[in-house]
C-alpha cells in the first residue's frame, strides 16, 4: 500500500498545498489534515507546513502548538511517528518541546526571502536518508523569525550526537547559532527545518529540485518499514 503522509493546515498556514504536492511528487499519498481534528487518522507520517499559524500572535507557533490535532500528534511523535516541521512547522515543534531550542527574530530584523544553499549534515533521519552527508542543496528560505537559538550546552549536545541536520552555506540568513538550518530529535523521526524543500521539487517552479529528497526519503523509509 502507498504510504500516507499527512499535512496539517492551521489557520494561517501558507505552504500546506506545496507540501501536499511535494508528497505526491515523491510518490506517496498526500492527506490533508485539519488543525481542529482530534485525530491524525490513518497516516504514516506528518508534515507541519510553513506559514503564519494564528497570525504569529504571541510567538510563532505558540498557539498552534495547543490546537486539538497537536494533542494527538505530540504523543504519536514521541512514539516514533515521522514528523517534518518546515519553517512555521519547525517553530511549532520547538514550542511543543518536541525539539530543543527556539526560533527568534532574525538578528538583522529584516524578513529574508531568497534561494539558500544548505549543507546536509546528517542522513540518518527519516527525512534525509536520500541525501549524502556533505551534499549541498539549494532551496528557498523565507522567514522573519528564523534565528535558531539554544543554550551552549544544548548546541554542544546537538553537535556531539549528530543531530544538526543541515547548516547554512554561503551566508547565514538569520543569525542562527552555529549556522544551524535544521535539527532532529534523538530518534531521528522528528525533524525541524527553517528553509523550504517543498518549494524546490521541480526546476520549472523552484531554484532546483533538491528539496524533493526530504519527501522521497520518507517514502523510502515507510515502504521499507
Amino acid at each position: 500500500m502507498t504510504p500516507r503522509v499527512g499535512v496539517i493546515t492551521f489557520p494561517g498556514s501558507l505552504d500546506d498545498r506545496d507540501a501536499l504536492r511535494a508528497i505526491d511528487y515523491a510518490g506517496a499519498d498526500p492527506v490533508a489534515l485539519w488543525h481542529g481534528d482530534d485525530s491524525l487518522g490513518a497516516v504514516d507520517a506528518v508534515v507541519l507546513p510553513g506559514g503564519f499559524s494564528y497570525g504569529d500572535y504571541l510567538r510563532c507557533g505558540a498557539i498552534a502548538r495547543f490546537s486539538p490535532i497537536m494533542a494527538a500528534l505530540i504523543p504519536a511523535a514521541k512514539d516514533g511517528l515521522p514528523v517534518l516541521g518546515i519553517c512555521n512547522g519547525f517553530q511549532v515543534l520547538c514550542e511543543a518541546h518536541l525539539l530543543p531550542g527556539a526560533l527568534t527574530r532574525n538578528d538583522h530584523r529584516h524578513f529574508v526571502c531568497r534561494d539558500q544553499r544548505l549543507r546536509i549534515e546528517s542522513n540518518t533521519t527519516a527525512w534525509t536518508a536520500d541525501y549524502q552527508v556533505g551534499e549541498e542543496i539549494l532551496v528557498p528560505i523565507k522567514n522573519g523569525e528564523g534565528c535558531y537559538i539554544a543554550e551552549e550546552s544544548v548546541l554542544d549536545e546537538l553537535e556531539r550526537s549528530g543531530r544538526v541536520l543541515a547548516r547554512y552555506v554561503g551566508g547565514n540568513p538569520n543569525g542562527s547559532y552555529r549556522d544551524i538550518a535544521g535539527i532532529t530529535n534523538e530518534a531521528g523521526n522528528i525533524v525541524g527545518l527553517m528553509p523550504h524543500p517543498e518549494h524546490a521539487i521541480d526546476d520549472l517552479t523552484g531554484p532546483s529540485s533538491d528539496g524533493l529528497g526530504f519527501f522521497t526519503s520518507i517514502l523510502h523509509r515507510l515502504v521499507s518499514a
Binding site: 504571541l58 520547538c94 527556539a102 527574530r105 538578528d107 538583522h108 534565528c147 537559538i149 539554544a150
Partner: protein
C-alpha cells in the same frame, strides 16, 4: 472580579532585535545616553469571581506554557485583585 498581570521578558542573554530597533529610534529622536532597550509583553487578565487554588495553579501552568516560552523568556505572575 480578579485581575492578574503576567509580564514576559526575553532572557537577558537572548538578542532582542525589536529592542535594538527602538533603541536606535530613541537615539535618533534626541534622547541622549540610552544604553539599552528591551521590549517585553504584558498580559492583563480579568476573571469573574475569586481566584481559588485550582485556578491559580492553572494560570501558573498556562503562563509557563502558553504566555511565555521558558526556553527564551522569563515571566512573572502578579495577582493585582482577588475578589
Amino acid at each position: 472580579m480578579s485581575r492578574v498581570v503576567v509580564e514576559v521578558m526575553l532572557k537577558p542573554e537572548i538578542l532582542d532585535p525589536q529592542g535594538r530597533a527602538v533603541e536606535g529610534a530613541l537615539d535618533r529622536l534626541g534622547l541622549v545616553g540610552v544604553t539599552s532597550v528591551r521590549q517585553g509583553k504584558r498580559f492583563e487578565i480579568e476573571l469573574a469571581g475569586p481566584l481559588d487554588a485550582s485556578r491559580r495553579e492553572r494560570l501558573n501552568e498556562l503562563a509557563e506554557t502558553l504566555l511565555a516560552n521558558p526556553v527564551i523568556e522569563n515571566f512573572t505572575v502578579h495577582v493585582v485583585e482577588d475578589a
